[in-house]
Every structure is written in C-alpha cells, then in structure tokens.
Assembly symmetry: C2
C-alpha cells in the first residue's frame, strides 16, 4: 500500500510546478523536513550572499561598503522583496529588529493614532510573546489602556467604541488555524478601531493581501517560511494612509530623513524607513536577501494550492492509517487552514522525538501538540507519504514511549 | 626624515606585545585602517564562526541547533565574553538588539526605578540617536519627564533632586574626549539619580570599569572596536543591585524564565537575560563571538598604553609636520582622551577622501571634522608615520581640493 501511495505521490511531484524549487535549498535528499514553520532551511543563495557580505563587502570593502555595497538601504530593498508576498507595495515594508520589538513599534504607533480610545483586544490563544509585549506597551501609551485577551470567537462581541486596536496572529502557531484577514479587518474598522496583524505563521506559505484587506499595520518574521536564517530580521508593513502620519515610537538615526546631518531632533525619513531605529545586522539581512531568491517568480496561488494539497494528503493518510489515534486540531476547511497540521496526543513529545530519530523533523508544542509544517517550496508529496509511514511505525512500535524520548523542553 | 621616523616606528612595532594580534584580522598588509572606531575589520575567527553557524549549524543541524549548537544562550555567552572588557562580572552582560533600542530599554527601566523624579539630563553634544531616543522614551514613562540637553560642563550644576537619571556617552564620537566614568557616576549618585552610560566609542579601546565606577546601566555597540561586523548586536550591562529589580520595558518570550512553557504572563529570566526580547540573529552573534577571540588574554592596561602611544605619536607628528594647519579637537591629556584623534579643517571632507584614495581610511564628521581611530589590536606604529606622511602629501599637493573629492554625505 505504501508502494502504491509512494508511486502516486511521485507522480504528483513530477507534475508539481514548484518541484525544482527544492534545488534552491541545501537539504539532504532523504531528510523529511516538516519544520520550516519554525526554522526554514538554508538556501544556496543565502550562503553565497552571506559569503559576499562577509568577505568582499566587510572584509575588503570595510566601512566603505555602507555606500558601495548598498548596506544603507538594504532594509528597504529586502522589504520591497517581501512586499509582493503580503500584498504590499514598494516602500511599504522594511526589514528590521526582531518581531516582538516590531510589534511594540506598531502597537504604540497605532495607539497614538486613536488617542481617545482605551482598549486593546487580542486573542487569548495568541503567541505568548505577543501578549507580553501588548501588556507592556499598554503601560507606555501615555494614558490608561486595558488589554483584553479573549477567545477569538468572542472578539466581535467586544468591539465597542472604546477599542483602539485589535492585534491578532493570522495563523495560530499551535493549531494552524487561519483567520479571515479581510473579514476581521473589516469588522474592526467598522468599530472605528485599527487592525495590527502578526504574520509570523503565514508569510511565504499562504497568500496574504494586506492592501486588499485594508489593514493598518502588520509585522512578521522571516526565519520561518521565508527561510531567512536563525533569528533573521522581522519586517514591518505600514499602510500607505498611515505613512507620514504614524510615528516610530522608538526612533533612531537610521530612520532619520538625514542621518548624517546629525540634527539634534528626529525627523522621520519618508515611508516606512522612519521605523528603522539603529544599525541592522548586514549579515542577517544578506542571508534573508538570498533566501528570498527562492520566491522569485513564484505564483502565490500555485504555492497555496500545493500547500493545501500537502496538508490534505497528510490529514487523509493519518485518518486512514491511524483512525482515532491522533486528534486533529487543524481545521479541515481550506479557508481556515494555514500551512501546518497539528495533532493532539498525550505522547506528542515522544512522537516528535521518535520521528526525528527517523529523519522526519516536526516539532512539539506543550502540552500535547505534534506540529508539522508543509512548506511548499521544498516539501515533496512523497515526503507526506513517508512521514505518515514513519508515524505509523512509531505508534505501532511504541517508539514514542521509549525512555530516550522522555519529555524535556523542546525549542522553537 | 620619514625614513628615520619609520625606522623608529618599526622598532616600536617589534617591541609591541600586541603586534601579533594583527594576524587575527583579514587586513591587507598595506592598508592603513584608522576607522575601526566606525567599523572594525573582519577577523579570521569571525569568518570561521559564521561559516560554522551557516553550514554545520543552520544547514545541517537545522532547527535542532537551537539546542545542540547552544543558540539559546548565545546572547549570554557572548555577553560574558564582553564583560571583562567593561569591568563587569558573569551574568551581567547580554548581547542583543541594536544600540538605540538597548538604550531605550535601559533608560525606561531606570526611569521606572526613580518614579518620584522628573528630569533626564544629557550632553548636548551626545550622539544624535541617543538624543532622539531620550526624547522619545521620555513620553513613555507614565509621567511627565523633561529632557535637558546641556553642555557637559554645565551638567553638574543641574543635578538637583528632580533628576531621575543622567545619560552620557563615555567617549565623544566627534572629538574623542573621554569623560571620567567613576567621577561623573559619583556626582550623579550624590544627587540621588541613576547613571546610564553609552560605551559605543570606548568598549574594546580603553579600559572601562563599570563595577568600580558603581554605575547603574550601560549599553554599547560591538561593531566598532570589538570588530563584531556591520550592524553587530549591541550589549547591555545591568548593575548587580538592579538585577531582579529593574524590569525590561519591552519584554518578550526569549527573556522569559520559562520560554517554552508558553505562560500567558511575563516572568523575567534571572539576571540580565530578562532584557532579551525575541529571537536574535545567530549569524550576527556568531560573527561577534569570533571577533572576541582577538581579545582573549589581552591586558587592558597594555591595550590602553598602546592606544595612547599611537595617538600621542599622531598628534606630535601633525604638530611637527603641519604646524597651524589642522585644529586638534581631541584632548591632549591622556585622562581625557579615548582612542581616536580628530582635527578640524574647512576641507576635512576632501582630506579624508584624498587619504582614502591613498589607502589610508579615516572618516569625516560634519561639518568639518576629520576623525582617525587608533584601534590597538591592528594599528601599527609605522601606520601612524605613514598616515601623517600621506596627510602632509595631501595638504601640500592640494589633493583635498580636488573635484573628485567634492563634499557629499559620508556614512557611519
């Protein structure tokens, strides 16, 4: 049966218009890497770009590379390459800082735009760091702000005229549930509030249309589906209507209109550049710049179709081969599914560890979720068949209860 | 005369206990690099460490490297390597973010510790981004804060009981003047205020003794004299007495005591780690980690002695060879001098450009300062002699007025 399933999967791989994209990545042929939603793999282009930044630019060009190698506007150029993946235009996206800090900037800027309002709403299941930073910046708004973390289905009922902004993550890090970007944004706007999106688990895996949704601010990370490398810079999108209006709450000289005039007061550079604070890591930006090559010319509809096909296949095979053994927590409806599939199991940690020992990399999220990402640029249809075959072997052989896989904390 | 001076300088280089440290750097033999105070050069160890992080760790280890390659505590380990250079102990320093953001964290944390006070003092000549961020965070303290930027000689007279904190840069980026770290800190403490130091232009070039000075917070950058690479992470030092007391105003999951327990509220990790927000660039940290190898076993008193010898020689040679032509703005007194020498000249920009064309790299600071850094790990005594010979040739030949060197904005 596995043979038949593998043969069918190989045929789908041969017909896959994205199949050759895997060649961009430095991945062993036999590795089944279903953790691109945590850390995307190295691309050959990232290696080359970091090498050039390190040797030719830093090593030989030294300080002159700020001009000659275009380091000064690298955050903008990389932002412009991310823009088409999230439905943004040129000059609207910049790569900078780390995601939680970028969210702090976006949320404070948004609060400043709604000075008469006092409530921030978020999802109680939002990623924890988003909740920490919301609680923290709420004390920095210059007025009392109440942060309410609610079940997502209750948010609409709390959209009253005290709400300054809503901050949500587009795809849930645990369950892979995807929210309706345009629908939620419209609801929030109808209440006179602003919408701040965290795109950590969607950018590069599902089409995102920020302008179509008419959102206000968005931030995301680039080390997941964009494959920018461990701790790669985050990005910020500011809606065109807020550019020149919204102010960076943590300004610095690299966001100044004239950074080398050394003026005593801050004047923001035009566009989203004003949100850059101080000198970004060029090595980190170079790796990200290289990684984005893998997206050149990719049709996001094709990307999405493959992502859904892969996750459909995984869900169907687990339904068929392991009926009743794993509790699917990812929505079956396409419109509500991101690019990962998560199952609940009391021994989820052991399952993930036993799979890793077999060359199938997924990850665990406490207390009981096994999470598998289907990054369409490098995951193959045959990987899905092999993943489920290994999963069956693990569960049938009781490998997940092996003492070697005793629970300890896993890492993003 | 140059021959005699070069022979003497070569003898000093042969006797220099730090002479072999230049071998750690990937610098062409004939390059006279006097801009390590802007961007330190590439070390062979940085190249190797980035290569390992890129290929073995990211490429092969993938997401598992967060555990197996020690990525999680890399900010702490790198911080512990910076600590001895600034008179700090283990667990007191962490590498993170960019300098202006780290200053924002330190200043807000300090303001929270002096809730009954309403004034922040700084130097009117402080680096501009320090002034931008002070002005910005003063609006985020939860109470009205007045920022006063004064000539540094007037600060003492304004140390009244409304002053919450004083924020100063240890070595002036323009003039190279060094402030009295311990003396100023004691004055500030006598007024009941806290002291936040920016060590951008001192770390790695002059001995800094934060514990001896009994300061409160310090931040610095690592891409200058520490040679960490373009946009390398900043660092933060928090005095032991404030650890567990001062709170990160921009908290995130990587500073949480239990990041993978995904708790809904923030609880800071012990020590300075609580000031880390979200995922740092591992490539950037790896480059910095490698660069710090060049400081292994260096006696800071020896480093300082060489730095002063180099800058003394430069000042004396310019005095002798170009009397009255350049206006020295760096203090002649050792106790007030950092590791750079700056001269004022109406054609400073042209002078710097003409020198660069001759293979002597310094930099220009608007409107009229030519600035030369003497990084003792790789600058040679003979470089000083050759630098001044080139400077004499530029000025005597009128090269600084050449149209090729017409003024445009210089960088960093």
């Amino acid at each position: 049966m596995d043979d038949r399933a593998r043969t069918d999967a190989r045929a789908r791989d041969e017909a896959d218009p994205l199949a050759r994209r895997r060649d961009a990545f430095d991945l062993p042929e036999d590795l089944i890497y279903l953790d691109g939603n945590s850390l995307g793999p190295l691309t050959h282009a990232s290696r080359a770009r970091v090498g050039a930044a390190l040797n030719a630019q830093w090593g030989r060009g030294l300080v002159g590379s700020w001009n000659t190698a275009g380091w000064m506007d690298l955050p903008d150029r990389v932002g412009d390459r991310i823009a088409p993946l999230i439905g943004a235009g040129p000059g609207q996206v910049v790569a900078l800082d780390t995601l939680t800090l970028v969210l702090a900037k976006a949320v404070l800027a948004a609060l400043d735009l709604r000075p008469e309002r006092s409530t921030v709403l978020t999802d109680v299941a939002n990623f924890h760091t988003d909740r920490y930073i919301l609680d923290a910046v709420a004390t920095r708004a210059g007025r009392p702000i109440r942060v309410r973390a609610l079940p997502r289905e209750d948010l609409a009922a709390h959209l009253d005229d005290t709400v300054a902004l809503v901050m949500l993550t587009h795809v849930d890090f645990r369950t892979g549930e995807m929210l309706d970007l345009a629908g939620v944004t419209a609801q929030v706007h109808a209440a006179g509030a602003l919408m701040v999106w965290d795109l950590a688990h969607s950018t590069g895996a599902v089409p995102v249309d920020l302008r179509g949704a008419d959102a206000d601010f968005a931030a995301g990370c680039t080390y997941k589906y964009l494959n920018g490398g461990p701790g790669a810079p985050a990005f910020l999108w500011v809606a065109p209507r807020w550019q020149g209006v919204a102010a960076n709450p943590l300004p610095g000289w690299l966001g100044h209109a004239r950074p080398f005039a050394f003026e005593p007061a801050f004047t923001a550079a035009p566009g989203v550049r004003g949100f850059v604070t101080s000198t970004p890591s060029i090595l980190a930006l170079a790796a990200l710049d290289g990684a984005l090559d893998a997206f050149d010319g990719v049709d996001l509809a094709v990307l999405r179709a493959k992502s859904l096909a892969l996750s459909d296949e995984a869900i169907a095979l687990v339904d068929e081969r392991l009926p009743g053994q794993l509790d699917l927590v990812t929505p079956r409806e396409h419109a509500r599914r991101g690019s990962q599939v998560s199952w609940r199991h009391p021994d989820a940690y052991g399952i993930v560890q036993a799979l890793i020992a077999r060359g199938v990399v997924g990850d665990f999220r406490a207390p009981d979720i096994a999470r598998f990402g289907f990054a369409p640029l490098f995951v193959r249809h045959v990987d899905v068949v092999d993943f489920v075959a290994h999963l069956v072997a693990v569960l049938e052989g009781g490998e997940h209860r092996d003492a070697r896989y005793a629970l300890h904390q896993a890492v993003t």
